[in-house]
Symmetry: C2
Subunit: 481 residues, 2 copies
Amino acid sequence: MTHPRKPARRPNKILGGLDAAIDACGLRDGAVVSFHHHLRNGDGVLNAVMAAIARRGLKDVTVAASSLFAVHAPLVRHIEEGTVGGVSAGFIAGPVAEAISRGLLARPARLLTHGGRARAIAAGELVIDAAFVAAPAADPFGNLNGVDGPSACGALGYPQVDAAHAKRVVAVTDHLVPYPACPIAIGQECVDFVVVLASIGEAAGIVSGTTRPTGEAAGLAIAALAARVIEAAGLLADGFSFQTGAGGISLAAAAEVRRRMQALGVVGSFASGGITGQHVAMLEEGLFRTLLDVQCFDLEAVRSFARDPRHLAMSAARYAAPGPRGAVVDALDAVILGATEIDRDFNVNVTTGSDGVLMGGSGGHADTAAGAGLAIVTSRLTAGANPKLVERVRTLTTPGATVDVVVTEAGLAVNPARGELRARLREAGLPVLGIDELLARAAAAADRPASPRAEGRTVAEVEYRDGSVIDTIPQARPQAR
Amino acid sequence: MTHPRKPARRPNKILGGLDAAIDACGLRDGAVVSFHHHLRNGDGVLNAVMAAIARRGLKDVTVAASSLFAVHAPLVRHIEEGTVGGVSAGFIAGPVAEAISRGLLARPARLLTHGGRARAIAAGELVIDAAFVAAPAADPFGNLNGVDGPSACGALGYPQVDAAHAKRVVAVTDHLVPYPACPIAIGQECVDFVVVLASIGEAAGIVSGTTRPTGEAAGLAIAALAARVIEAAGLLADGFSFQTGAGGISLAAAAEVRRRMQALGVVGSFASGGITGQHVAMLEEGLFRTLLDVQCFDLEAVRSFARDPRHLAMSAARYAAPGPRGAVVDALDAVILGATEIDRDFNVNVTTGSDGVLMGGSGGHADTAAGAGLAIVTSRLTAGANPKLVERVRTLTTPGATVDVVVTEAGLAVNPARGELRARLREAGLPVLGIDELLARAAAAADRPASPRAEGRTVAEVEYRDGSVIDTIPQARPQAR
């Protein structure tokens, strides 16, 4: 018989700082470290951790983030100095995106979908040595939540996946609470260490400028037409489920859908994805029974998430991971998405700009398009002088086979595979054009033709949600900058 | 470029019945199937599933349950007929326990602790082919909770571990709700199939008779002394955390602790484990800030769990799994536990009766003793004619190294390793005797000496929370029955 000794009491996981955490995690050259983007453009954790990693002289580290924003500009220097040799993320904007396009990274960046990232982590394809979780509130054992403290951001859907699978997990907080944290979004069973910083972020940056509806006429016309498509498709009935992206047209379309649901007295089942105050209002008006929230996009959503038991959190896995068990996206009736470019095959690019420079990525775009019964992509015909409907997208983000309807200010096009839907929309008197017609109108409205796709060294790979690489991004030509 | 096809809409996971689920899970001879015990002695799911498995002619199946009760008596026939060849559980009582003691099982049963079971599942030592989750409410995609429907049982801490790791997971419900279930205790990302039965259990059996405080004088004296030990140890201060077992003396001790906390104006941090109406009252009186609930023991707890955000769920892993990240038990200030036998080395048996027959098991006993700063084991000196304090426990459930104080109606004994505690209790005027003295008094009070431990074929193995086998149980002698 063994007589185990009583273990030490209350294993306090608080370390003296990020340097100590990097040591405690045993990070070495080539390590993979992960981050989440719930603090959006106000995030202070990634920069603080990467500065510490640089101080410790590590090289060739891979940053596996759920998304990267302008605030993460200091990463460019870490790339230049060899501290960082790889980047993967669901969305990359700002100076880091530009640096990747310039060919600064040692290895091609990997662009994932939010659901694909969750799948890759769970499948062991994306192995994380240490996940650094920006924790608006945490207790000394590492139980943490997103609803308390000065950097409250609400739901924590992305790091829930990292924390469940990473070899080491570090909670980084500026709001240490007594044990136990309440509520608990990520539990102590997933957390190795706790680091307390003076601040984990800037509250002002947590609400992104992308989360306001458009006020511009063409955008409003597109939004109204998108809402009419949903209604004409017969979806505005009890049980309706809905998601929009965070772009201005999508949010205006959501406002249109809201008005129609009010008029029809429809009680939907859920709205999902990144949640805004508008979704909260729809929940409180009884237009939806629940919200399924992977990330709060504004402070009204944060407040609702903290107080309303119908406002449910979902991990990125539950939200969007592909697989036989299905995700929330597979239960979606309709999603309204944006586009940088749309092509003749209904393929969508939200990854690169018209200059071929990386400026975004799928996030949940490809996931929701694949899952939703009706995936509507909205777009103006042109952006500045450039056509947005083009012969072939510069970068494939979301395959056309998963896009059902394209809505522009000039009218809409239905995917040829959806003949019945096309007939319905025609019957409802909607302006159903062909995709060829939309391309022609875009070409006519544009001041110049779409520039040809560049050739050159691959600086980034676009990984579809199932793990397959569906496109590559060539290095941006110097003149394009 | 690949152009993935749009997947089928809304993957409905509802199967026609348990037979279809067994087929869909691909179960074969030798499969391991798991169950949880939140419906306690009212559970109808294990029996229904095992009847279906027997109908399909499977042989040598292992039943990996969190606990087994008298209601699971039909399992005896499945063992006799070879359908079931192995059993593992944290606690086994009733006809199945007796059958195991008689040597009916092909392989020795495996007795786990609740935390050790979670550890073994997560570590891949206990590989579950199919987990059958009794789900008081579930939606067609398999999101499920324990708070809605006619069989509402509250928290679902045990199956959360099974569902996270089993190869296939089947939600078995009698209350199908529209998508999405709200709240969600186990999400669709963990669930393969949904089966709807007319009933998953008998509400009356969900509340076990073990969850009422003792009213008997010696028991009340023991309870009062246990509470005085906690106070004298200096633990009744703000932040105090506490757990009791579900035995009558433990519950009476909790009532004593409650009165002392009220008198002192102490605000504790949490009460944990199986939660009763008494814990709920203490939460509502402000005596604890939170409850950490792995399983609701009565209907008042179920009601509180459904409505009070301070009443938190915890999985068995968060609750009690050993490992470097620590569990809730490692944050416990004090736990009050029961005993069938206690020996000179403070070892405790709650696994077999004085006749050597299997009648229980650790559950969380060994986990909380190992974690808590002060582990108090309460016991009367005798049970019927038999001494309960003995030279050597018949079966080792909880190693004496993790037991700090033994409290009886004759006085208490402090583990020699806790000299400072012993001095404190003496100073406080508590009746501190030695363990030898307690043994002597028990022997004097008993009508007969402890019967010797039987020898013979091993019918069950006692696995400590770290996975090591710390004892074996020999086949019960025929005369003992």
